[in-house]
Amino acid sequence: MNRNRMLDLWVGLFVIIGIGALAFLALRAANASNFSSEPTYTLEARFDNIGSLKVRAPVRSAGVMVGRVSAIGFDAETYEAVVSFNISARYPFPKDTSAKILTAGLLGEQYLGLTAGGDAVMFKAGDTVRLTQSAVVLENLIGQFLYNKAAEGKPADAKPADANPGEGKSAGEKADDAKVTDSKAAESKTTDSTAKGGKTRAAKGAEGSQ
């Protein structure tokens, strides 16, 4: 009988160590406080270009992870990428929140950045984020930069920049421009966000299907 008790003791110890190892893996190696078990709600966003965004990429707002990308699809009608993502139910976002695809570091992984707006109405599960900004594609930037350089080399009167002011600017300036228009849009959105957003989306859709 005594022998058996020793055996039980050892088996108990083994099970404790095993469960302890599992707990270690769960709590120390994998941050168990991420959203795999938490209730979430799903939103959708449409982008012209998602770059190399992947399923399970983080969704961040103000740099804090608030969710994960759950699915990426392609809309054959508008030729846009449809990104679905889960957000922890703890974090409601207003209806005029904008989504951008950003890059961690210079060449790091891409993630979905959410910038909250000021609307009083919050997103419900299944809603679509209207304000989106596509990923920055490095090749396009470089192409633009080269075009720029070539334009600078020409004499001032032959500059084609007047015809198309956006083209003549450097990438940084252009980005600033985009930001300005973005914030302007966000401001005007606070009044009639859904209506306007819907309109631009509809216009875009029509453009795409033509």
Partner: protein, 275 residues
């Protein structure tokens, strides 16, 4: 007088036909053995009720398969983690991302090396012993004696061993992974001098509980079922001679290793495709 029909010619196969016949016979034999193994598996499940009720029997097998494997699993895990730390650092430092060492060590251990290597070790440490034990019981007619006493050997001998192995395996794999992560920590942080905070935070950012840790546990459970099934079946099916038992033991280790690696390919393709 009617002409007697010539006696039927003895059917002597030519060399090619003999080969083909041999091949067919071999294939049929293997197929038959697979069928018997599947039936055996179902029989284990049917008779495991008694094993669960008399949990002391299962406890003894957990002690044998799990507790006594602790040292080899823990130490190998530590060493594998250390090697991962050293090699991973060598590679990562070329791309200036040595901070990702924690991610590399943890993901490779939790997803792959933990379940696979611990299952291989388990097959050679515990699986071979199970086969030898059951095979020897058969060779010395202990199993037949049990049947004579109306004790079902499947319930008394095989099922407890099976469940002992199946319960032990995921725990051993988790211990292996945990020891490996500590080994990587010893090399990366203590020896090389990476930042401890970066080691853990990068790991926590990349390792998902459900997608990585839980899938690793599922893997090791599947391996546990496969290895112990093979081990008890080979023992039960061994030729009741000294040679037969030794062959069965060898077969257990070889078949288990192949099955573990093949299942790993399947499971990895199922679990981690596209992420």
């Amino acid at each position: 007088m009617p002409v007697a029909s010539p006696p039927p010619k003895p059917d002597v196969p030519g060399p090619v036909r003999a080969r083909v016949e041999g091949l067919g016979e071999w294939a049929l034999l293997k197929l038959e053995r697979l069928g018997f193994a599947a039936r055996f598996f179902l029989a284990i499940l049917r008779f495991s009720g008694l094993g669960i009720r008399r949990f002391g029997l299962v406890m003894r097998e957990i002690h044998f398969a799990g507790v006594l494997s602790l040292v080899i699993i823990g130490v190998s895990g530590l060493f594998v983690g250390m090697v991962l730390g050293l090699q991973g650092y060598e590679t990562l430092v070329r791309y200036g991302s040595a901070e990702a060492l924690g991610t590399l060590v943890a993901l490779s251990l939790v997803r792959e090396l933990g379940p696979v290597v611990s299952a291989l070790l388990f097959a050679s440490r515990a699986g071979s012993a199970m086969t030898a034990e059951i095979g020897l019981m058969k060779a010395t007619e202990q199993l037949a004696a049990m049947e004579m006493m109306a004790v079902e050997p499947l319930a008394r001998v095989v099922a407890p061993r099976f469940w002992g192995g199946v319960i032990s395996m995921p725990l051993l794999a988790a211990i292996f992974s945990a020891c490996g992560i500590l080994g990587g920590y010893l090399i990366g942080v203590v020896t090389i001098g990476l930042d401890a905070g970066a080691y853990w935070s990068q790991m926590q950012a990349a390792v998902d509980f459900r997608d990585d840790v839980l899938n690793g546990v599922i893997k090791s459970f599947v391996f546990g079922v496969a290895v112990t099934w093979i081990a008890v079946f080979e023992g039960y099916d061994a030729a009741p001679t000294a040679e037969g038992v030794s062959r069965a033991t060898t077969r257990t280790v070889v078949t288990s290793a192949l099955v573990i690696l093949a299942l790993d390919v399947l499971l990895t393709a199922l679990m981690f495709r596209g992420t």
